[in-house]
């Protein structure tokens, strides 16, 4: 943070002002003039919150992707299929047992086990051959997509959230003032807030593991120079297996989350694969904070675009990606290797 300020003082101040303006927009009730330009504040706040929660979901999917790519240079284009598979399995588990929370460990284990098989049987055979990995994982995703279509059909599924999570909650955010001066507070689906908090906790936990634990040290060393790490006696294949299984399991759990506040249909796999591609391209390959920032930017751009320019909302996302690529090809927080 400080080094960024020292290197780019002007940019830091501009970013700070933008951030402050954004906070001001969120915190204060809007004047009528502002409402004329931007529409109702409630709509704006809803879009921002949806963007942030969507960003949380993108982060859950993309963090595994970026970790796998950063450490192993493995290009796993079947990541979206793991997401959708996790969602379907989670739906089945939650439906069969009635416990929404139980779905998470089950899916994490099952999809993580699939990840182990993928890493051990597929990626280890073609280490360093990026194009071949890409092609093989595209093949796997085509096959998985069709198998899932076979089993679960073309209809859309929704994982039902448990009772203690359903319903709205009131947030301490003022949307408007009543005529008598009472503030009106924003209400928002509780499940989304919980998911947002969970994503933040998971993100912080990942950061802690990566930066404060021995395993994290191994992973970071592997990202920087994996030959040297292997030469110093670490059984790097085990680290690879662990990271791949964790990334796959995360994608699977994100599938349950996505199935809870969106829906599960065939085609979601490519959508989330693309989302995680864009997120990691914007944020920088192999960087967890980068994935978080990228996911936040993409989620906000998508939702705000949906409200203020519905026709072109999808294009915003890719426009951001193109701009990032044009000016900073390694991504916002990429290491620039």
């Amino acid at each position: 943070m400080q080094s960024f300020y020292k290197r780019h003082p002007v940019w830091s101040i501009i970013l700070l002002f933008l951030f402050a303006g954004f906070v001001w927009l969120i915190a204060t009730p809007w004047s009528p003039g502002l409402e004329q330009v931007l529409g109702r504040k409630r709509i704006f706040l809803n879009a921002v919150l949806s963007g942030i929660t969507l960003g949380a979901l993108y982060f859950l999917v993309a963090s595994g992707f970026t970790l796998i790519f950063g450490l192993m240079r493995n290009v796993n284009l079947a990541h979206g299929s793991l997401y959708l598979l996790g969602g379907y399995i989670g739906y089945e588990v939650a439906n069969a047992t009635g416990y929404w929370l139980l779905a998470f460990p089950v899916v994490f284990m099952l999809v993580g086990a699939l990840g182990l098989v993928l890493q051990h049987q597929v990626f280890r055979r073609m280490e360093g051959e990026e194009l071949r990995q890409t092609l093989v994982t595209i093949g796997i995703s085509v096959v998985l997509a069709d198998i899932m279509l076979w089993i679960w059909g073309g209809q859309s599924y929704q994982v039902l959230s448990p009772d203690w999570l359903s319903g709205p909650m009131t947030l301490p955010l003022v949307t408007a003032l009543r005529s008598n001066g009472d503030p009106v507070y924003l209400t928002y689906p509780q499940v989304r807030i919980v998911i947002l908090i969970a994503a933040i906790i998971i993100g912080i936990a990942m950061w802690l593991v990566l930066n404060r634990s021995r395993l994290g040290m191994l992973i970071r060393a592997g990202v920087d120079d994996r030959d040297m790490l292997a030469a110093s006696g670490v059984r790097i294949q085990y680290v690879f297996l662990a990271v791949f299984a964790f990334g796959a399991g995360m994608a699977g759990m994100a599938g349950i989350v996505g199935g809870t506040f969106q829906s599960l249909t065939p085609g979601e796999d490519t959508r989330f694969l693309l989302a995680s591609l864009v997120v990691v391209i914007v944020g920088g390959m192999g960087s967890i904070p980068g994935a978080a920032i990228g996911a936040l930017i993409i989620g906000l751009a998508e939702q705000l675009g949906l409200v203020y320019a519905p026709t072109y909302s999808v294009v915003f996302t890719f426009l951001i990606m193109a701009v990032v690529l044009a000016f900073r090809p390694q991504g916002l927080l990429g290491a620039g290797r």
């Binding site: 290009v75 194009l131 092609l135 595209i138 069709d146 198998i147 999808v314 890719f318 690529l325 090809p329």
Partner: protein
Amino acid sequence: MTYVVRRAEPTQPTLLEKVPAIWWAVALLLIAMPLFASNFVLFQIFGWTFILGMIALSLMFLAGYGGMVSLIQMTVGAMAGYMVAILGTSGVPTISLGWPWWLYIPVAILIAAIFGTLVGALAVRTEGIYTIMITLAIASAFFYFTRQNYGLFNGYTGFNRVIPPELFGIDWRQATPFYYLTLTCAALSYFAVVYVSRSPFGLALQGVRDNPRRMGALGFSVTAHRILAYTFSSVIAAVGGILLVWQNSQVSPGTAGIPQVIDILVIAVVGGIKRPIGPFIGALIYVLLRVYSPDVLLAFGLSGERFKLVIGLGFLIIVFFSPDGMLGLWEKYKARRAAQTDPLRGGRS
């Protein structure tokens, strides 16, 4: 007495003699095809094969000679198709401008080439897997954009009744004329790729593929060569895209949906991306599977909808065992045959 054995001057084989006999046979077969093949085979199987082959050929040019695996080719083709529908005539007269054919075809190809060049200029900033990701992302952006935009691209439905112009009094959507049209275009683009690959530009491009630093040090502009490769391949993809739109007589966002974009990669890789004939072989295999695998699956008592599974599994097996596709398998087979020949005595050992 000395005999001077006068050896005959080594004759240079003429250009025609250098072509192996098998090529003549294939060419003759392809030209004579309408004599014995049914209209369905001509129009659906071979017409489609040549079209997909051309689009995959443009990918093969980029990947094989330029080392850049681009997933944008189908999108460039769809762009050209859209331009034909917008500038020419279609079933949506409110948008279509109704230009004459000699104007809208070149303009469509030009616009598609500019589009491909712009994408290329963005994509060449990256390497390897990043190129795949970025072109895939742009291709899906195009898909979503055309699906949302109703002013120009007519949204979800796209354009129907986009038919080729009636030139020389021939209806080009009849099976035989369409077969010859696609055959001609495919042959021309095939020879164009072969020619360019041996031209100074093509050789420099292959140099850039193998060692960009060295080529840069020798004074070649690496970026310019790569972008120009995108332009050239975009032209081929654009012609293929226009033919595809004419064959289906409609263009919609699904023409360049994500599965279709990936199919082109599948075709090129299954055929083999080392040589220009590969994409056509891959396209033939793909089309045969697409058309006949439901029947075969039904014959085995399975649901005909699972043809994607068959294609995906076939693709997976081929890339898993032979990264160079069918051509790679063929070369492996030849190499094994050659290895079995005893080098001293000749013949089989």
